[in-house]
């Protein structure tokens, strides 16, 4: 592929994903009107998403005027401010079922710091790993990465948001895998992670443990998460090859599947558009993933490479875990589907991430070619 076509493919996949999400919400609101006789909550999610999309695009355009190299100097202040927000959310935050996840801003809109923290952590880890070897040797870099990531993970877990916390951890691990690691260093990393996992399990709240146990053994809690997953599977499966369409869909408008506008949005796609539509969505993510890989390959600046790899890892992990949960392949974690799930901070984060990737590519160092 010619280098100048790369961002075009990348941008196309992002635009198609966003369009797919909007189309799904609009179709769901039509199905709702058909079944209930009036527009319901899906229509309001559709309108709110349109509004938030405007804001996200504005931020994405602004990011095009920022050279990514500036992030190097902003790393520490960004980290400090974001960590401050993560602390603040524990005190002023709102959320469902007693959790504290977002800081109220205007009306029903709020800021979810754990979403933005993913981008910040990607930049922080990229920054640490690319510090000059004279300043920080390889072993120390890993320790500093751990020291930078673990507090955020713990703060997010306090909210409690196990999904986002493990996502922060997962992104960091994928980035570290691409760092020069000797066998011994990988071993140390493994031990640290094992200890962390043990610590996390001990600090989990009962409902969080239940979720993991439900995944390992769905029989454990048929009324709770297990029930949700079964309803989600029924909705997805009922779509068949071509979907039940606006007039045939019942599960969505009758809200059998919980939080179908966010966590379980993939089952909405499955019911409305069937196997055909679901495969298109998965293929769009594969397209996004490969165009991200090709962009990384064309980059020569290590800092840039790590940032883009981190962003790619974030998208893949979220997409795989979210879709997997909908069809009973991964635990119920409440991780949104990038570009598709309803959620302002989520949409904003992913559009901004895409914009950073484009900006990195546009301002890449071409001297070495």
């Amino acid at each position: 592929m010619k280098p100048h076509r790369l961002p075009l493919v990348f941008i196309t996949s992002v635009v198609l994903l966003i369009g797919f999400g909007l189309g799904t919400f609009y179709a769901a609101s039509l199905a709702e009107r058909y079944t209930l006789g009036h527009f319901g909550s899906f229509y309001s999610y559709f309108l709110k998403t349109l509004l938030l999309l405007g804001l996200s695009v504005a931020i994405a355009v602004m990011l095009q005027f920022v050279n990514y190299r500036v992030f190097r100097f902003l790393t520490i202040p960004m980290y400090v401010i974001q960590t401050g927000l993560l602390v603040a959310v524990l005190f002023v935050g709102r959320g469902m079922y007693g959790s504290r996840r977002w800081i109220p801003v205007v009306g029903s809109f709020g800021l979810q710091p754990s979403e933005i923290q993913k981008l910040v952590i990607i930049i922080v880890v990229a920054f640490i790993l690319t510090l000059p070897e004279k300043k920080l040797n390889t072993g120390l870099k890993i320790l500093v990465v751990v020291a930078a990531v673990v507090p955020s993970v713990l703060l997010v877990m306090r909210q409690p948001d196990l999904g986002s916390a493990s996502l922060l951890l997962g992104i960091s691990v994928v980035m570290l895998v691409h760092f020069r690691l000797t066998g011994r260093q990988l071993l140390v990393l493994g031990v640290v992670l094992a200890l962390a996992a043990g610590g996390v399990w001990l600090s989990l709240r009962p409902y969080q443990r239940t979720r993991i146990e439900t995944f390992l053994n769905p029989q454990a809690d048929p009324l709770g998460d297990g029930y949700n997953v079964i309803q989600s599977i029924v909705a997805t499966g009922s779509g068949g090859i071509w979907g039940r369409g606006i007039k045939g869909s019942t599960q969505a408008p009758l809200s059998f599947v919980p939080v179908q506008y966010a966590d379980f949005v993939f089952s909405l796609v499955g019911e409305l558009f069937g196997f055909a539509g679901s495969v298109v969505l998965v293929l769009l993510f594969i397209m996004l993933l490969w165009s991200t890989f090709l962009i990384v390959r064309s980059l020569t600046d290590d800092f840039a490479r790590y940032i883009v790899m981190g962003i790619g890892a974030m998208w893949f992990l979220q997409a795989a875990v979210n879709m997997g949960m909908t069809i009973g392949l991964s635990p119920v974690t409440g991780i949104p589907l990038p570009f598709i799930s309803y959620g302002g901070s989520s949409l904003l984060t992913h559009v901004a991430a895409a914009s950073i990737v484009v900006s990195v590519y546009r301002t890449r160092d071409e001297l070495r070619f």
Binding site: P218, V234, G270, E271, F316
Partner: protein, 592 residues
């Protein structure tokens, strides 16, 4: 990083991207299975949303006596549930249920309406239906879409009325209870402990519900079970009660009103606790007839006199008066007080019970043996109301004993301030004297009275009276044994308590009380006969513990509103309580 390393890194990222892609292709494979292979099936399930959650109660834990005799258990029973979405003709189908169960159609409809759940959630409309009804319904069930017969359990008390006031009973959860307990997973029609041990240890006894996610056909009948979480029984409870002693106590009370308690003073284990008249807790499970309810209401059968009845302690209170006198050195065991049949104070004659006779010269031992009122009038007068009230408080008359049974009441002792406040009258010396012999305004619960005697026997230590000996995990069979708790220490000198004990021992060797004696064992006892305000009706007490020096058992028998003659005929009854205890447990600690 140099170019070579970047090349390696790119290769690694390529590998990672390939793995990621394979995982996403795996998701497509799963989608193929769900939507293409099983698409028609799931479309069918989705059509009526044919998933139902059926939840049945887990068996409650058993309640057993200390020797393993079952006092409360669960037996199989049937429930009827309705899923409104599946009903084809609600009136006709519910009508059948109404007719079979003997309920009004409107009542059933109200139950369904008030359940406040969605059309797909089954609602329990009848619990514990009898076997014939269940069989008839089972026959008709295929023609009644939306109505299902579900296997369940109900409570049973195989010993009938035995220990009814201790066990209590279970019942359907009430609205206010539900409000409070919703967070613990209770729903309408759930069974919950209502009284007694059933209420006290609800959290231990309660079983965990089974949850079954089933798929139903278009007629609402179960096709298959998708997921199942089996019911888990609650913990079993072992009580400190000995069913044999409990039975005897209830027989001794007979058809009278009263209470009988047996307790191990060394740890607070309650061996028996009976209140009469009593009731059959099984009737709460099957549904109480109006007739039973009327009888029980008139006789106060549900009222646990042993812990919630407060009566004037009468002469049993003399242990407190004597202790106050000795402990303040107002009297010693050599102080002699003359009884000429009464005491004139403020121009009024306060009669000893022996009036117009007299006891003559009395020391404290003889005063206990004779239950001489003149002696304790004098002691009360000498120590004064303040001191007497202090000792009444120290013995805990106004405090709960902390027994693990709901509904314990506290007793009461008057003070000058209270009397002024209540009757707008000053406190007279006569009030102090009346209090000294346990009459007047003072009230005590039987459980407190036996606790006082236990703590005297134990040289000032009161172990909290309790029923829970252990709880048993239904799966591991592991026993969690209750550790006895010291509720109170009197802080009274050993000399004083030894003197009182010696006096109480003399009681068992005097007059009508001698028949209490157990061969080879020194018994301490005290009688009490309280006026009720009604002519020739008295509250009569007999409290005892034995052996004197290291007591193994404390017993109490109390008759409410009984003729005077009974006070003198109680000793043989209490003798039987003591005798049977020592027959059963005598060798345990070596009797003296």
């Amino acid at each position: 990083m140099d170019k070579l390393q970047q090349y390696r890194q790119t290769r690694r990222f390529l590998a990672v991207t390939v793995v990621f892609t394979l995982i996403l292709l795996g998701i497509i494979a799963r989608l193929y299975f769900l939507q293409v292979v099983k698409g028609t099936y799931y479309a069918g399930v989705a059509e009526d949303n044919r998933l139902r959650i059926i939840s049945t109660a887990g068996p409650r834990g058993e309640i057993r006596d200390r020797n393993g005799i079952v006092l409360a258990t669960d037996v199989p029973s049937f429930d009827i549930v309705v899923t409104t979405y599946d009903l084809e003709n609600a009136d006709q189908e519910l009508g059948v249920v109404a007719q079979l169960t003997g309920t009004k159609l409107q009542t059933l409809k109200d139950t369904v309406k008030e359940a406040g759940v969605g059309p797909f959630t089954p609602i329990t409309v009848a619990r514990n239906v009898s076997k014939p009804v269940a069989l008839k319904l089972a026959e008709q069930e295929p023609d009644l879409p939306g109505i299902q017969l579900v296997m369940s359990t109900r409570r049973s008390y195989p010993q009938g009325t035995l220990a009814a006031h201790v066990l209590g009973y279970t019942g359907e959860i009430g609205d206010t209870e539900l409000e409070k307990l919703r967070a613990d997973g209770y729903v309408m029609k759930d069974t919950i402990g209502k009284e007694g041990i059933e209420l006290q240890y609800e959290s231990l006894l309660r079983g965990q519900k089974s949850q079954k996610l089933i798929e139903v056909d278009a007629g609402g009948k179960a096709v298959k079970t998708l997921q199942e979480k089996p019911a888990a029984p609650g913990k079993s409870i072992i009580l400190t009660i000995d069913a044999r002693l409990q039975k005897m106590c209830e027989e001794l009370l007979g058809s009278n009103q009263g209470a009988a308690i047996m307790m191990d003073p060394r740890n607070g284990d309650l061996l028996a606790l009976a209140s009469a008249p009593t009731f059959d807790p099984n009737k709460f499970i099957s549904g109480i007839s109006t007739e039973d309810w009327k009888t029980w209401s008139v006789k106060g059968s549900l009222f646990n006199r042993a812990i919630a009845g407060a009566f004037p302690p009468a002469s049993t209170f003399k242990v407190v008066t004597g202790t106050a006198g000795l402990e303040t050195h107002t009297i010693t065991d050599r102080t002699i007080i003359y009884c000429g049949g009464g005491l004139t104070v403020g121009g009024r004659l306060f009669k000893c019970w022996i009036w117009p006779g007299g006891h003559g010269n009395e020391d404290i031992y003889k005063a206990y043996a004779d239950s001489c009122d003149s002696y304790f009038f004098t002691v009360a007068r000498l120590v004064g109301i303040e001191t007497l009230a202090t000792y009444a408080h120290r013995f805990g008359i106004d405090k709960p004993t902390g027994i693990d049974l709901p509904g314990e009441r506290t007793g009461f002792y008057p003070t000058p301030e209270w009397k002024l406040d209540k009757y707008n009258e000053p406190w007279y010396e006569g009030d102090t004297m009346n209090m000294g012999i346990g009459q007047g305004y003072m009230l005590e619960t039987p459980i407190r009275n036996i606790s006082i005697f236990s703590s005297i026997g134990m040289n000032g230590t009161l172990w909290r009276p309790h029923f829970l000996k252990a709880s048993v995990d239904p799966i591991t069979k592991a026993e969690a044994v209750t550790t006895p708790v010291v509720q109170d220490t009197l802080g009274i000198s050993a000399t004083t308590l030894a003197t009182v004990k010696k006096g109480l021992n003399l009681v068992s060797q005097t007059g009508g009380v001698t028949s209490i004696q157990v061969k080879g064992i020194e018994v301490c006892a005290k009688t009490g006969t309280a006026e009720t305000g009604t002519l020739n009706l008295y509250h009569t007490w007999l409290v005892a513990f034995a052996p004197m020096d290291n007591p193994q058992v404390a017993v109490l028998l109390m008759f409410e509103n009984s003729p005077y003659e009974r006070s003198t005929s109680m000793a043989p009854l209490v003798h039987r309580m003591l005798q049977q205890y020592f027959d059963l447990y005598g060798g345990e600690n070596g009797s003296n």
